[in-house]
């Protein structure tokens, strides 16, 4: 059994002047050690939910609990040191005028972690190494790094205070595919080695399937379907989940088969020009 880390009950968020709430009676539970994927398209309420869970916005009704206590009762510094966040675009989330070392040390300074500068510098070097950068990279500035490396910096900053929970809002959507793969691997490795619990907000079910044990499918501010990722993906009960799955562009099946088995499979999937079927793609992904 795992303990409840962060949870929302009947969360509703109504923005002024909008006909319907951005979030409508949403329940969510994040258990320690069980990574959760929050999936949905634009306007689903994913980011609103994330903001409420982070305590940067308040629900119109409903409540957020951290470690069993109402969020308002949890000391802010304790909450911040245990719950950290990584955003989609590392270009806008890193201050261009600060060195990478100063960026990564910032949560340590503001949360008063580490007894002096030297101790914080050690921690910075440690987390930079953990995300696959070099400790010396701390002396450089964000613009000297590629998009993927910048996302590593943002992850290092989030890891600095040794959080238990890492919330990531579309952390790989802005990255090229090869880089995306590296960041997914990094997140998986960090979850495994540091015992982190990951909450991944994404429109991409494939990424969620690779990183999360539980999934929450949202649409129009409500939870459409939730449960273990394997169950939801294998036996979706809702039409919307099925539509979402069917819409993921896929390479022909023989190319996405597990490594080593590709050669054994016939190249069954029709490609344009081979079968000249305009419906080839929809059939492949159905």
């Amino acid at each position: 059994m795992s303990a409840e880390l962060l949870a929302g009950r009947s969360l509703t968020r109504q923005y002024a002047g909008r006909p319907r709430p951005a979030l409508d009676q949403v329940d969510v539970t994040i258990d320690s050690g069980v990574s959760l994927g929050i999936v949905g398209e634009s306007g689903a309420g994913k980011s609103t939910l994330l903001r409420l869970l982070l305590g940067v916005d308040r629900p119109s009704s409903g409540s957020v609990r951290f470690g069993g206590q109402p969020l308002g009762k949890v000391p802010r510094r304790e909450f911040r040191s245990q719950v950290q966040v990584v955003f989609q675009d590392p270009r806008s989330s890193l201050n261009p005028r600060m060195s990478v070392g100063a960026i990564v040390a910032e949560p340590l300074r503001s949360l008063k972690i580490g007894k002096d500068r030297a101790e914080r510098a050690d921690r910075v070097a440690e987390v930079l190494t953990a995300v696959g950068l070099h400790p010396d990279d701390g002396k450089r500035y964000p613009h000297e790094f590629s998009g993927g490396q910048r996302q590593r910096i943002a992850i290092a900053r989030a890891l600095a205070p040794s959080p238990r929970l890492l919330l990531a809002d579309e952390p790989v959507s802005a990255l090229d595919v090869s880089v995306r793969l590296q960041i997914v691997d990094l997140l998986r490795e960090l979850v495994d080695t540091l015992g982190l619990t990951l909450v991944l907000v994404s429109h991409d079910l494939a990424i969620v399937s690779q990183l999360c044990q539980q999934v929450l499918v949202m649409r129009h501010g409500r939870v459409v379907e939730s449960g273990p990722t394997a169950t939801v993906l294998e036996r979706p009960t809702q039409d919307y989940t099925r539509a979402l799955l069917a819409a993921i562009p896929q390479l022909p099946a023989d190319l996405t088969a597990p490594p080593g088995t590709a050669d054994l499979l016939p190249s069954a999937a029709a490609l344009p020009g081979e079968a000249a079927l305009p419906t080839a793609r929809t059939e492949e992904t159905a």
Partner: protein
């Protein structure tokens, strides 16, 4: 099939830097060519070069022919006759492609009046027809709407209607579905399928997203750092990539899109 648009040894330089090098592409009716590469690979510059829209200061060499006529050094006046008429385009972000202050119908009608010399009434009727054709709801009412009043997917449909209204023979689409939600992307992609069948337009589809391009294109051109790493039939590039880079791209894309939980097999 006769070639409509072709580029040979297309090269784009800025000062002493080569941004696109030696690109060859040929498009005849109903051809679907995918141009794939990661950010900075030169794919969007290739699109702009093929439309005669390169930013000031960039130099282009090689040959770009439209119906056999070389336009590489042609004045903008000649390009204007081709652009939006024989060769049309759709870009990633439909909001920036649309005038925020002009009703949608008039934006679709604009090129029809310019290139086809239609009068206002006929052009407006065509606009309604194309809105309907690209699957927009309630086209009679929608042509009077402003771009901000409709959704992102609907705006991309409007951009497609604008691009196709003059019956171009080549459509250049640069990341046309990248900004869209995945279910909307699927709808727009099948709309591309239908429209190619129906209008015989040739498509140059530019994207960083291999599964998307592979589902649509018969031939692929793989670009990296301005150079063509590989080109060939989609099936060959996917199953028997010759270059290390194409191989890596296919492997990465296969891994990234794989649903890996338990026994999920799709």
């Amino acid at each position: 099939m006769t070639t409509i648009l072709a580029a040979e040894h297309l090269t784009v330089t800025l000062d002493d830097r080569t941004l696109v090098k030696d690109l060859d592409v040929e498009l005849a009716a109903r051809d679907r060519v995918g141009l794939i590469g990661e950010s900075g690979s030169g794919k969007s510059l290739t699109a702009l070069a093929l439309l005669g829209l390169l930013p000031e200061g960039m130099r282009v060499s090689g040959r770009i022919t439209v119906d056999g006529r070389d336009l590489i050094a042609a004045p903008d006046r000649d390009w204007r006759r081709v652009r939006g008429n024989t060769v049309s385009m759709v870009f990633q972000e439909p909001l920036t492609a649309l005038d925020p202050l002009m009703p949608i119908g008039r934006q679709i009608a604009g090129p029809l009046r310019l290139h086809r010399g239609l009068n206002r009434t006929d052009a407006q009727a065509q606009a309604v027809h194309w809105c309907e054709r690209v699957g927009l709801p309630d086209p009679e009412r929608l042509v009077r709407a402003l771009p901000h009043e409709i959704s992102g997917g609907q705006r991309q449909r409007v951009a497609l209607a604008m691009a196709l209204a003059c019956r171009p023979r080549v459509l250049i689409a640069d990341e046309p579905t990248t900004a869209l939600d995945v279910t909307v992307q699927a709808q727009i992609l099948s709309l591309f399928d239908e429209l190619i069948e129906e209008t015989s337009v040739a498509l140059l589809f530019i994207s960083h997203d291999l599964p998307v391009v592979a589902g649509l294109a018969q031939r692929l051109i793989v670009m990296r750092d301005g150079r063509v790493e590989e080109s060939g039939a989609t099936g060959d590039v996917l199953r028997r990539p010759q270059s290390a880079y194409a191989r890596q791209l296919v492997t990465s894309a296969a891994q990234v899109t794989r649903l890996t939980v338990g026994t999920v097999e799709r």
